[in-house]
């Protein structure tokens, strides 16, 4: 534990350095700009990398190579795509609702961006650390559905409208399961602050400490989060074999790219949240009292731990998409309302009972 680097030392030292020479207002503005630039860069690079990763992973699953021409192993492929999309014409179809049409990408991006900032990436490395962190993330991510609904409605295309309506019904339904499965850990840890939840896992991750119900909550969270980010097998909003492209049928160029980006960032967000809440965030893996093993684990920086776990979860979510057929809309809702929700309610009671009896570690 003692090796874990606290990033708040870094931020504090920057703060003091600036405060020594500048007025408080300027310090504040410069800090804002710094944080903004860091997150802007982080968001863009992560988005590009995730798109590349998805293409490589699905290619390997499908006995293909995937992008391999632009740059070594094709890592610049998505950048090339981004440049191409930037130089594509943006147009709005006839009779579309122009204001809402233009507004939709803003909403989906802002929703995902605001949530990304609340994730603790390492000790002391988070932009927003509210004491109702989990709540905040749930609130912000559900904004994304507004963007999708607006996009589908304003396009004046029948396919878009169907896609938007589907995604509306889908996302609000799965919101419940996401909330309830996160509640499991909140009961365990007794806090909604994400950094506190991570700290509470220093002696073991909740997925292990919470016995089977915690694991169960994790599985439900994974399913529900996959559904909420509109990824296969729950990608009904853009089901390409039924609705061609669903809600973003009429979007071109960079506007389309933002929907694409937001989808990937939401996937990252889901994985990061699962990591933070269930898999110990940036905490290293400790195996009971094998101090030698634990000592070695501590050497791996928390940053690596966090992203390692996140990418494992991302891989699982990708595997879902590339393995399963898509559900139908009524089956999707049946799954939520008749399976996940009742089971989740039961699970919460079981967890409450475990906490009451103090059976968890």
């Amino acid at each position: 534990m003692k090796f874990l680097y606290d990033f708040s030392i870094l931020t504090n030292s920057i703060h003091q350095m600036l405060a020594a020479s500048l007025s408080p207002l300027w310090v504040f503005i410069i800090e804002l700009v710094l944080v903004g630039l860091v997150f802007l860069g982080f968001y863009a690079i992560l988005g590009l990398f995730l798109v590349y990763l998805e293409r490589r992973v699905c290619a390997f699953i499908q006995n293909r190579l995937g992008p391999n021409r632009v740059g070594p192993q094709g890592i610049f492929q998505t950048i090339a795509d981004l440049v191409k999309l930037l130089f594509k014409e943006l147009f709005v179809v006839r009779k579309a609702d122009k204001i809402l049409f233009n507004l939709a990408p803003f909403i989906v991006i802002i929703a995902s961006l605001m949530a990304i900032g609340a994730i603790p990436y390492a000790k002391g490395l988070h932009a927003i650390d509210l004491n109702i962190g989990v709540f905040y993330i749930l609130a912000v991510t559900s904004l994304g559905v507004v963007g999708i609904l607006l996009a589908g409605w304003s396009s004046n295309s029948k396919y878009s409208l169907l896609g938007a309506m589907r995604s509306g019904a889908q996302i609000i339904s799965y919101e419940l399961s996401v909330g309830l499965s996160l509640l499991a850990v909140i009961i365990f840890s007794g806090s909604m602050q994400l950094s506190t939840i991570v700290e509470s896992q220093a002696n073991g991750w909740w997925i292990f400490k919470g016995h089977i119900p915690a694991f169960f909550a994790f599985v439900i969270f994974l399913i529900a989060a996959t559904a909420e980010t509109n990824r296969g097998p729950f990608d009904l909003a853009e089901a390409e074999s039924e609705l061609t492209a669903g809600f973003h049928t009429e979007y071109t160029g960079i506007r389309f790219a933002f929907f694409f980006l937001a989808e990937y960032m939401n996937m990252f967000l889901a994985a990061a949240l699962a990591t933070t809440v269930f898999l110990g965030g940036w905490m290293p893996f400790h195996f009971f009292d094998f101090s030698g093993f634990n000592y070695v684990m501590d050497f791996i920086p928390p940053f690596v731990w966090f992203f390692g776990k996140t990418f494992v979860v991302i891989y699982i979510i990708m595997l879902f998409k590339w393995t399963f057929p898509r559900l139908r809309i009524d089956q999707l809702l049946t799954l939520e309302w008749k399976y996940l929700l009742p089971l989740n309610l039961l699970n919460i009671i079981v967890i409450a009972f475990i906490v009451l009896m103090g059976w968890h570690f």
Partner: protein, 373 residues
């Protein structure tokens, strides 16, 4: 600002939506005009003709050898049975008995074509349902068959290989060995298809009880091939009117009586196993001999009307030739399986969701050039 718009009130107003011709799941340029209520389909009107090339008209100004290369372009996913149908019809009209070697090779080719076609159907069906990985697994295995084709006839898709009287040229010496290599390979890969799709609970939910077609309707609509056999319609021409070497091989006619999408799916998977069984029986028994019967360079069919049907991967392909004793036919009619299969879709899809319509049209295994001709 949102301009004022007239909003159509009333729930019973149909929401008309066009699916196709530029749609990923119509497998070509087919157009469905759907009337929707919410997401439920209550009428499907298929529109075809987007790639109508007038093959039947073109046949009237081509000699019988030249017709062969046009038939390739109907059901291009398994071109051999199309060629075979015309060849058999011409041979029947002329009263020619083709050598045994030709018969066996034709049967092998038909079965290979059926396998290749069913593999591609499996890929595309999985993709219709949203499982994109199936597409690549199926194509990977199909590639092996196409390699066999390429080695012997020089083309992978449109072979024009079977011609009246026999074959265009003899098969490649490696032909036998390649098939022998392929069968164990595919026997290993086929269970994967089941693990990936057939057993999957989502897939079962998506396909069971969807697109019911009763036996009476199947017969009345003339739905043949695996689609018809999924409804219990015993329509396998290979069994009922054996041609080439089908009378001497042992295979089962796959019949399922449920009549839903899942039954049609299982018929095709089972047919792949049967095809491999046929291949195994025949591959060692290719007799030596000539690859073609003695034919005149210009074929003149005696006056009369001739009908021959064969079993393609999609159903019964009938060739009806009317001749006046000339080197050109008076009329050639192709009774293509997909034409009849397609028009049962309205009957099957009503009351289901859009997503089910995609599954149903996928399970019918439509090839659009075969409909339009």
């Amino acid at each position: 600002m949102v301009e004022k718009r007239e909003i159509i009130l009333g729930e019973n107003e149909p929401y008309v939506i066009n699916m196709g011709p530029q749609h990923p799941s119509t497998h070509g340029v087919l157009r469905f005009e759907l009337s929707l209520k919410g997401e439920t389909v209550f009428k499907v009107v298929p529109h075809c003709g987007y790639i109508h090339r007038g093959i039947e008209k073109m046949c009237e100004s081509n000699t019988y050898q030249q017709i062969i290369h046009l038939t390739d372009r109907m059901d291009y996913l398994s071109a051999h049975p199309n060629n075979e149908a015309v060849s058999l019809c011409v041979e029947k009209a002329l009263g020619i008995e083709v050598p045994e070697r030709v018969k066996v090779i034709r049967t092998i080719l038909s079965e290979l074509g059926r396998l290749a076609s069913h593999q591609l159907w499996w890929c595309a069906f999985g993709m219709d349902l949203g499982a994109l990985t199936t597409f690549f697994y199926g194509l990977r295995d199909r590639e092996k068959i196409l390699d066999i084709f390429e080695e012997s006839f020089g083309s992978r898709l449109l072979h024009s290989y079977i011609c009246p009287g026999g074959l265009m040229n003899d098969v490649h010496p490696n032909f036998k060995q390649r098939i022998k290599d392929f069968i164990p390979y595919f026997r290993k890969k086929l269970p994967e298809y089941d693990q990936l799709l057939s057993g999957n609970v989502i897939f079962k939910e998506r396909s069971r009880g969807i697109g019911m077609l009763s036996l009476e309707d199947a017969i009345s609509y003339g739905v043949t091939g695996p689609s018809g056999r999924g409804s219990g319609f015993s329509c396998d021409i290979r069994k009922s009117q054996p041609y080439s070497a089908y009378d001497r091989v042992d295979f089962k006619e796959i019949l399922f009586t449920e009549g839903d999408t899942y039954a049609r799916y299982r018929v095709r998977i089972a047919e792949m196993w049967e095809s491999m069984k046929i291949l195994e029986q025949l591959v060692d028994q290719i007799p030596d001999g000539d690859y073609t019967a003695k034919m005149k360079p210009i074929i003149k069919l005696p006056e009369g009307e001739y009908y021959q049907s064969v079993e393609t991967a999609r159903g019964e392909l009938g060739v009806y030739i009317v001749s006046k004793g000339d080197k050109f036919p008076v009329r050639v009619k192709f009774r293509t399986p997909n034409f009849s299969n397609l028009f049962a879709i309205n009957h099957m899809a009503v009351g289901h969701k859009i997503a089910d319509l995609v599954a149903i049209s996928g399970s019918l295994d439509l090839v659009i050039p075969d409909i339009d001709r």
